[in-house]
Amino acid sequence: MATRAPELLQQDGTQPLTGAQLVVRALEREGVTHVFGYPGGAIMPVYDALPGSSLRHILVRHEQAAALAADAYGRVTGRPGVCLATSGPGATNLVTGIANAFMDSVPMVAITGQVASPLMGTDAFQEVDTFGITLPIVKHSFIVRDPAHIPQVFADAFEIARSGRPGPVLIDLPKDMGVAAARAGEPERHPEPPHHADAQIIARADAMIAKAEKPLLYFGGGIAIGRAERALRDLAARTGMPSVATLKGLGALPTDQENFLGMLGMHGTRAANVATDECDLLICVGARFDDRATGKLDTFAPNARVIHIDGDESEIGKLRRAEIGIAGDLTAILDALTATPEIGAWRDRCRRNKRLWAARYDAPGQGVYPPALLKQLSEVAGDNAIFTCDVGQHQMWVAQHCRFTRPQAHLTSAGLGTMGYGIPAGIGALFAEPDATVITVTGDGSIMMNIHELATLRRYRLPLKIVLLDNAQLGMVRQWQELFFDGNFSEIDLSDNPDFAQVARAFGIEAFTVDRRDQVPAAIDRLLRTTGPILAHVRTDPRENVWPLVPPNSPNIHMLEKTT
């Protein structure tokens, strides 16, 4: 690959640069430091311009991992994560990661190569309509039609990706646009004006809160998106209100805060779901009445009036009518609410329920009990830890049993439910926060979706700590087949899994296996002490289920519980 002299990239707009050089300059101008990608034909001009730039490119082994790593990077930093791929299969491989970011409102800029402009629409080699394929899963998208437009396109893309409700933005770059030279000046900036809370509506909301006898704070991922944790914590402290969180909201309040009742919904705590059922006022902040949280919607919080506060106006009233809706900057809105309701009896009842229905960790037998392992691991790992999850039973166990003191410490594919998210997300998190203790909790189904990324860990010597909970099954599917399909187990057996410790070692990664409960403390110690990447292969009981569980389309108080 040819290298470019750095001075070429430092020229002002009076000298022509290639489109690819303009791309690199635009990324530098946006403060981008890391790009996750994989080269190929149509994107080669950009790869040709990378050397000599200030950008650090992270070569993954599959484009999906580039998008998922960029997603995690965006979640941790709050700045758009950037991924880069070629046309055709490179672009289609990004699609799952783009959709993942879209569903969870994560800032991302995805850059794809495209066949040269004259070939677009001719079924050329590695041509696919990336713009069209991604239309439903991006916040916005661009096709570069003139290299002189590149600075403005990139400035707009980053602004759109991070503003308001964040999301992924796609830039499709035809190969000839990367090669052609253009003179381009500085882009214009159009930042969104700040949103201020309306005083009259705030006063009405305050009055409603003051009158409430059983108010409940229900918060979600919008808190992290709006970086409104401080304001939420102040409100919770000021009012003493009990609270519940969605999967994405976990950590916005410390999960060990005394009035926090846990996650609500399908795998929520009984205390959270009962409080939601009983409350007379639901203050929803940065959440969207998602079906996993509400269960059967028309039975959700049946006695409650609703104050819905969100950064995205279109979420208010979408699924549940709100008596008061307030859209705008969450921090400003939460800070403006000053009511302090008299709710001692209600608060005591919720705390009592929390103690009464607290999770138990005294499972019988000598086998590893995943909830106990995860609880112990998160306590030892401390506040500096970031957990990234795959999808399945282990994902819910992490949400239920790990301790979080900030939402950026819990990276989970909540909306899309992407098996394979865990390791790429761990990679992204490590580049975003190199001093953090990053732990990926995965399953034997999920890890195989992106197991090739062990090579990326090895290449960059990333100290990711992988806990692989291996029940030799697709556990969540098996659980549903057991409970809702009359035990008709269909295509869930993974007992022919490879020896995962051997696989990890083949990638050059330290690994060991845990079979018994008494091995867990030493395993946690080894995981946390090891300075490089390490995988703990933990064999678990395939009959273990995630409890509690609300059956689909049922009221949240109809929870199934562990019976033995």
Partner: protein, 94 residues
């Protein structure tokens, strides 16, 4: 800018209506608008468009695919699109 609002109780809806969208005529804008309307549970039954100096006005006649769909909700989602400048809905136009 203030975005506060008071939510009124939803009115009974017919199963058809018209969505009028004003937007900047940038690449993909019309596809984005129509695709969102379809994906969010409305059948597109007719389209009328006018364009002047890079600004378009698109009138979309729609029918709900199930009773749970509300024009006000899809209007809010259309307003989030980067190219969209204004959205209005009516339930009696078809």
């Amino acid at each position: 800018m203030s975005l506060a609002m008071t939510m009124a109780a939803p009115r009974p809806l017919t199963d058809s209506g018209r969505i009028t969208v004003a937007f900047a005529m940038r690449e993909g804008a019309m596809l984005r608008v129509l695709g969102l309307v379809e994906r969010r549970g409305f059948e597109v039954r007719g389209v009328t468009m006018a364009e002047h100096r890079g600004r378009a006005s698109l009138a979309i006649d729609v029918r709900k695919r199930d009773p749970g769909r509300r024009l006000a909700v899809v209007a809010g989602q259309l307003r989030r699109l980067h190219d969209v400048e204004a959205v209005s809905v009516s339930e009696d136009e078809v």
